[in-house]
Symmetry: D2
Subunit: 110 residues, 4 copies
């Protein structure tokens, strides 16, 4: 499996690509901040803050969420797609790319 | 203040436009769900779920957040902008519209 | 009709709100540039330019198109919505706002 | 260069990956339609069509443009990224992925 750089996040059995742990901590920290933004928005609504100020927070939160998504996508291509391509399993590599394309479509549309 | 339909969320002193309370409950319920999605994403990262599955959740959360934003914007126009326009205070109405336009720009770009 | 600031672009009979002509020239100039970008993209594809360079042009063209849309929306609110609100015709004003909200939704989603 | 599936659109010297010609015709047809939409928008502005109707066309045109972009991106990954990965040139493959990630960021933000 090493040859496919196999790790759960590539849909393979455990084992980690180099630097994955630190990346994970970085994602968790950002997602915790995003969770905090969601709580902050509830407070703003409860306190009937000005709708425009709430909208500003919503845009900031959306941007933060999208940048996590864009980084995850980059990881997917650098690890899952490359690992499959290197392994010489073209069908697998193309399947990974198809999934990435679908995910990109959802990100662009959302 | 009735003339400007004045309520905190229009940047005026307290007092509520009809139906605002129920709208607020609806926003809070959706924002709590969004907060839950943020926690769910952290769980997925901790459990090293497949990046593509995490991305699917991120797109769903972004859509949910945007739809809250679009509804808040609609409220802003129906209450804050209309109230200012009805009050005959054009400068105020145009200021409210300018704020809305800026918020729309941020939503479209984010 | 003056009271509703009536002009075709607000779905009323002819007559123009101040500065509309200059705004129109500005829109036409930008749309002609966008048409030129569409031709430039065809040239790039015919010459088999690098896909990433074509994508850069597509993003620039999308941004230009969106900024025309955002300005039209701002005009709609400043002229059509305000005119209807000033005329005291609330149903009409709310209808204009509903249309604006639907248009914003399409811009954010696209 | 065959090994890198090299063709201009991958930033390599000429030579075409299978089916590229038909893909190119498909892109050109869609870009010509988009150019037509840009002309149609100018007509609508000249005839002072209702702003909301113009906005509807702008959203349709933006969607058409984005779908061309998403397909080009998919091509880039399936041909340029895979070709580089297969060639065993990891630095090259990672460079192609970096370019793709940057392009995706611009598409999501635009």
């Amino acid at each position: 499996m090493a040859v496919t750089g196999g790790h759960e996040s590539c849909g393979h059995e455990a084992g980690h690509h180099h630097g994955y742990i630190t990346a994970r901590e970085n994602y968790l920290r950002r997602l915790r901040r995003i969770e905090g933004q969601a709580r902050g928005l509830q407070r703003m609504v409860e306190e009937e803050k000005y709708c425009i100020d709430i909208l500003t927070q919503i845009s900031a939160m959306t941007k933060a969420l999208e940048s996590v998504g864009l980084e995850l996508l980059d990881d997917h291509m650098n690890h899952c797609v490359l690992a499959a391509a290197r392994s010489g399993d073209d069908a697998e590599a193309q399947a990974k790319i198809r999934e990435a394309s679908e995910a990109i479509k959802r990100l662009v549309r959302s």
